[in-house]
Each structure stands twice: as structure tokens, then as C-alpha cells.
């Protein structure tokens, strides 16, 4: 079973961010994570069999939650336009297919992406703050964010300074998040990327989750997709517990976005089970849960075609991106 960490009541959270010392006391006072229990729980929830109408619902929901991502050095405006078209109509042969939640691009491609999805309801997310390393001065990071927002980004995906976090300078990380949140203003939702693959322990992931939520993140996101270990069921489960408990204590709902390494429809459905069973069905909505992925969408579409026609589909019947 999952363990519900004991978290101090809401009124107690207001003064934990006052100083580096009180923040550290709070974060280190969070209950330790039972790694074996966490992984067993995530694995157990992954064994559930989702079939027929439930599967159809899950596939459509998963498609509508995809942040269709292209974060390559070789990105071109043409590629971003193609991605935008795909986000709006993922399967041109079947117009009942829902649109994806967003496209996720580098800041210099935001304007192109914005134009490509104009009028469709598909959001444009931009990574910022010297993604993926986050190794730049604060001024550069803020400028990066402002540029993305000015170009029309609806969502900003920032990376935390893992160096500062791992060396225990929590207040620095906290202040960076609040500064980026300010730069986003009211027009953009902020997703905070932890790069869980670099945080070493589950305890650190729990601490990072609370740190980001206290600092005003709208979403917490596992990873950049640029390192060896990305989203796993276990670290996503841990973050889902964190947002659930945070809402219980403060009334503030925060979204979760696993990113990187989720490639098959089967995996995506497993994550949806985690969401439903851990955070609750309130989070089963593109506004509160996203998949950061690129190749996942094709597999979701192929499974959707299989369900509709009864024939197995193949990569010849979805776009190559």
C-alpha cells in the first residue's frame, strides 16, 4: 500500500519558506520514502488490464494529454509547423481523434508553433531557463522566460538548478522558481522540471516536489528527456502523492507531467491508472496531467486504429516526425 506522508497543516506552510534554515528543516522533516514499497505499488498498479470501452476512453484521454514535443538542436520552422499540424489533427484519417494538449518547443520556435496551432485550442509550451542544463545566470534565465512568454507561450517548462538543490541550497532554488513564476505572469502556466534522474533518491524527489509546489509551480514535471533515466512509474507515483497531499493541506491543485521514456500506449495507460488511483480522478484531465512525449503519440494512434478497425495497424499509417 502507499504510505501517506504526514505533512504539516496549511498554516504551517506559510512560514517554512522564510529562511534557508526553516526551508531545509521543513524539507528534511518530510517523511522518508519507502523505496521498495513505492516501486511495488507502482508495479502492482501497472498490472491492471484495461480493455474495450475503458481502453478506448483511456487512449483518447492519453492523446488529449500529450505535450507533443520536439526539442532537438536540428529543429526547423518546417518541422515545428508539421508538429503543430499533427497536434491539431493527430490522425487526419479519423477526425474523431482528439487534439493533443500542447506542443512543446524551444523558445525561438514559439512564434512558429503559435501560428501553426492558432485557433485550435492546442496550447504552446516552451522550455526555458537554459534548458536542459539550467546552467546560466539568473538574468539569462529570466530573459529566456520573458522571450518565450512575449512570443505567446501558454506554458513555460523551467528546469531547476540541480547543483544548488543537491548541495542543499534550497532557498536559491525556491527563489529561482518564484522569479520565473513572476516572469510568467498571469499569461503562462509554469511547469517545474526536476530532472529526477539526477536527484539520486526518492527522498530528494519528494523534497523537490514540495519545494516547487511551495514556490508556486502550476505543474511539476519529472524530467527533460535528455538524461538516461526519465519518467518512471515509481517517481511519477511519488509526485502524484505529493500533489494529492498538497491539495489536502492547502486546497491548491497542482498538475503532474511525466516526460521522457514513455513510448507505448500500454505504458501511457499504466500512468493513467497511477493517476486515477493515487491523485484521484480530478487529475484525469489534460489541465492537470500531461505526457511529455513525441513517439508515444504514434503508438496511441496505432492502438486507436486497431480498436476502431480490429486490424493491427503499422507505422506506415501514422506520420513520421
Amino acid at each position: 500500500m502507499s504510505t501517506t506522508p504526514h505533512v504539516p497543516a496549511a498554516h504551517a506552510l506559510t512560514d517554512v519558506t522564510g529562511s534557508d534554515a526553516s526551508l531545509r528543516r521543513f524539507l528534511h522533516g518530510l517523511p522518508g520514502v519507502d523505496a521498495v514499497g513505492l516501486e511495488a505499488r507502482a508495479a502492482a498498479l501497472g498490472t491492471r488490464s484495461i480493455k474495450t470501452t475503458s481502453k478506448a476512453y483511456a487512449l483518447d484521454l492519453a492523446i488529449s494529454m500529450v505535450d507533443l514535443t520536439t526539442l532537438e538542436g536540428a529543429d526547423t520552422p518546417g518541422k515545428v509547423r508539421a508538429l503543430g499540424a499533427k497536434a491539431v489533427h493527430p490522425d487526419p484519417t479519423d477526425r474523431t481523434t482528439p487534439a493533443t494538449a500542447a506542443v512543446c518547443v524551444y523558445p525561438d520556435m514559439v512564434a512558429v508553433a503559435k501560428e501553426a496551432v492558432a485557433g485550435s485550442g492546442v496550447k504552446v509550451a516552451s522550455v526555458a531557463t537554459a534548458f536542459p542544463a539550467g546552467r546560466a545566470s539568473m538574468a539569462v534565465k529570466i530573459a529566456d522566460v520573458r522571450e518565450a512568454v512575449a512570443a505567446g507561450a501558454d506554458e513555460v517548462d523551467m528546469v531547476i538548478d540541480r547543483g544548488a538543490f543537491l548541495s542543499g541550497r534550497y532557498l536559491k532554488v525556491f527563489e529561482e522558481i518564484t522569479a520565473v513564476k513572476d516572469a510568467c505572469g498571469d499569461s503562462a502556466r509554469l511547469k517545474v522540471i526536476f530532472e529526477t534522474g539526477e536527484l539520486s533518491t526518492y527522498d530528494n524527489i519528494r523534497r523537490a516536489s514540495y519545494l516547487a509546489m511551495l514556490a508556486g509551480a502550476d505543474f511539476i514535471k519529472t524530467s527533460t528527456g535528455k538524461v538516461a533515466v526519465n519518467a518512471t512509474p515509481a517517481n511519477t507515483l511519488l509526485m502524484l502523492q505529493a500533489v494529492r497531499d498538497f491539495r489536502d493541506r492547502t486546497g491548491v491543485q497542482i498538475g503532474v507531467k511525466p516526460a521522457g521514456g514513455i513510448r507505448t500506449a500500454k505504458d501511457a495507460v499504466k500512468f493513467l491508472v497511477l493517476v486515477g488511483e493515487t491523485a484521484g480522478t480530478d487529475w484525469l484531465d489534460p489541465h492537470w496531467f500531461r505526457f511529455g512525449a513525441s513517439s508515444l503519440l504514434n503508438d496511441l494512434l496505432m492502438q486507436r486504429q486497431k480498436l476502431a478497425t480490429g486490424r493491427y495497424s503499422g507505422p506506415d499509417y501514422v506520420t513520421v516526425d
Binding site: R311, Y312, G314, P315, D316
Partner: protein, 298 residues
């Protein structure tokens, strides 16, 4: 001294270079042809096993079709070498499966090894036979070359458990296709053992995938699969309702279909018909360069 306990072999599928059990966990009993004695349990593949096999075959297609014809020939010759080393095992399996005497089964195994060698030799010669330079009225080279079709689903013949299997499988892979082969329903053991031979030769995983089970259960999934490019319906039997059903299912994505033939004699020299069945001829134009005053740039 107590009598030695027999060690039974667990026959498994061969998919993507690995030896999985059926994802369904099912098996069925395989009995000898003559005395109906129990021989072994074979995996009873499900449609999901078929799907996984197609994914493996698709993944292997790029590498196998892109390998040089000479290299493919060497790899297939290696299969013959490995098979030769297991003659006694295959002789026993074929004798049990088809109810033959040791001597007759041994002759079939020899023929099977020779069949591999024969097809191995064809890999780098078929292009010269089927392709060519076409004369055109202009300063162009116009070249036709045969290219592999893609992933081919092969229903192996029901009666000839090893020679028949190799006779339909070898031409498919010799020409650069990758294969998902459904073994003879009654006698799948030689086919499953052939998987072990392929795994220990230099054939890349996924180029050949061997499934055992009910042909009528697995074949419709393969025939309607949008990522399968061709089907060889030999194992469905000529003139059967199943063959017709599969042909209809295969029409959805315009698969190439090789219809089952009546009374096919696998012991006879095969000819190139099965080699050409799963090749597509592609024609390319290429400029010869500018023409000089004499009408030629050379």
C-alpha cells in the same frame, strides 16, 4: 543403479532472436504421426504473439534488406552448416512428426540442408536474372532492380514439417524480406528446433520468427495486419474456406498474396518462382551525362 530420468525439452517460440513462451501461457500436445504417442508440448500462440512477431520482423527489416546480397548468402549458408551439425536431432524429429523410417527422414533432412545451400547461392544472382538495364530513347540509364517486399507472413505447409517449411521460408529471407512463419499445426517441433539453428547461425534476430499453434487462429491476424506486406498461404491449403478468408483479409492493405497450390512436391527442384513471389521490381532513371558532338559523352 537406478534408471536415468528422461529430460524433456520445452519447445518455445522464436521471436525477435529470443525464445519466449506464448504470451497467453497456452500450450498444446503434439503427438507422433504414426502411433499418436505424446512427443512434447508446443506453445499455442495467440494473436498477440503474432503482433509481437510482426513488430520484431519490421524492426529487423531495415538491417536485413540493407545487407549486401553477398552477405545474406553467407549468412544463409551458415544456417545450412548449423543444420548439418544437428542432422541426428532433426532426423528423429522429422521421423516422429511424419511417421517415416529413420532412413527416409535422414534423406529429407539432407535435402533440407541442400535447399538452404541452394537458396543461399541465389541471393546475389537473382538481381541479374530479374533486373536489367532497359534501353530507352534518351540520354538516360534505365535500370530495373528487384527489391524485397517487406514483412512476409508465411503459413508453412502442414504435411512437410521441415523440408516444406524451409522450401517456403528460405526464398523469402534470401531475397531480403523478413518473415513471420506459422509452423505446421500438427508437426511444429522441427520448425521450433529450426529457430534454435537460426539463433546460432548469423541470422539477425527478428529476420525469421517462428510461431506454433492453430493456423486458423493466428493466420487471420497476420493476413489483416496493416504492417505485413505479403502473405504466403501455402499452409492454409488449396481451395479451403480459410484460404479464401485470408485472401479477402489481405486485400485491405493490398498485400502480395501467394496462393496455396495443390500437390506441391517439395522434394523437386524448386525453380525461381518462390524467389520472385516476394520481390518488387523498382525502376530508376539516371542521366548518362551531357552528350558530346558525336552523340555520346564517352
Amino acid at each position: 543403479m537406478s534408471e536415468r530420468l528422461s529430460v524433456f525439452k520445452t519447445y518455445k517460440l522464436y521471436v525477435g532472436g529470443k525464445f519466449p513462451r506464448s504470451e497467453s501461457g497456452r500450450v498444446y500436445e503434439v503427438t507422433g504421426s504414426k502411433d499418436q504417442d505424446w512427443l512434447a508440448n508446443a506453445p499455442l500462440s495467440s494473436r498477440k504473439d503474432a503482433r509481437d512477431a510482426v513488430v520484431a520482423a519490421r524492426k529487423a527489416f531495415g538491417g536485413w534488406s540493407g545487407a549486401t546480397a553477398y552477405n545474406r548468402g553467407q549468412v544463409l549458408y551458415r544456417v545450412a552448416e548449423m543444420l548439418e551439425g544437428r542432422r541426428s536431432q532433426f532426423t528423429r524429429e522429422v521421423a516422429d512428426a511424419e511417421g517415416l523410417s529413420k532412413a527416409k527422414a535422414a534423406a529429407l533432412v539432407d535435402l533440407t540442408v541442400d535447399r538452404w545451400v541452394w537458396y543461399a547461392g541465389w541471393t546475389d544472382k537473382i538481381a541479374q536474372v530479374l533486373g536489367g538495364a532497359n534501353p530507352v530513347a534518351g540520354p538516360f540509364f534505365n535500370l530495373s532492380t528487384p527489391e524485397p517486399t517487406g514483412v512476409v507472413a508465411v503459413l508453412a505447409p502442414q504435411e512437410s514439417s521441415l523440408l516444406g517449411l524451409v522450401s517456403v521460408l528460405a526464398p523469402v529471407v534470401a531475397t531480403g524480406n523478413t518473415a513471420v512463419v506459422v509452423a505446421s499445426e500438427r508437426s511444429p517441433l522441427p520448425a521450433l528446433s529450426l529457430g534454435e539453428v537460426l539463433a546460432t547461425s548469423d541470422v539477425p534476430g527478428g529476420v525469421v520468427n517462428v510461431l506454433s499453434g492453430r493456423t486458423a487462429e493466428i493466420a487471420p491476424t497476420l493476413a489483416s495486419h496493416m504492417d505485413v506486406n505479403a502473405v504466403d498461404l501455402t499452409g492454409a491449403g488449396a481451395g479451403t474456406a480459410l484460404a479464401t478468408e485470408l485472401e479477402v483479409a489481405a486485400a485491405d492493405n493490398l498485400k502480395r498474396v501467394l496462393r496455396p497450390r495443390t500437390g506441391e512436391d517439395f522434394a523437386a527442384t524448386p525453380g525461381t518462382e518462390r524467389l520472385t513471389a516476394f520481390l518488387e521490381t523498382k525502376t530508376v532513371w539516371h542521366t548518362t551525362g551531357s552528350l558530346g558532338a558525336s552523340g555520346s559523352s564517352y
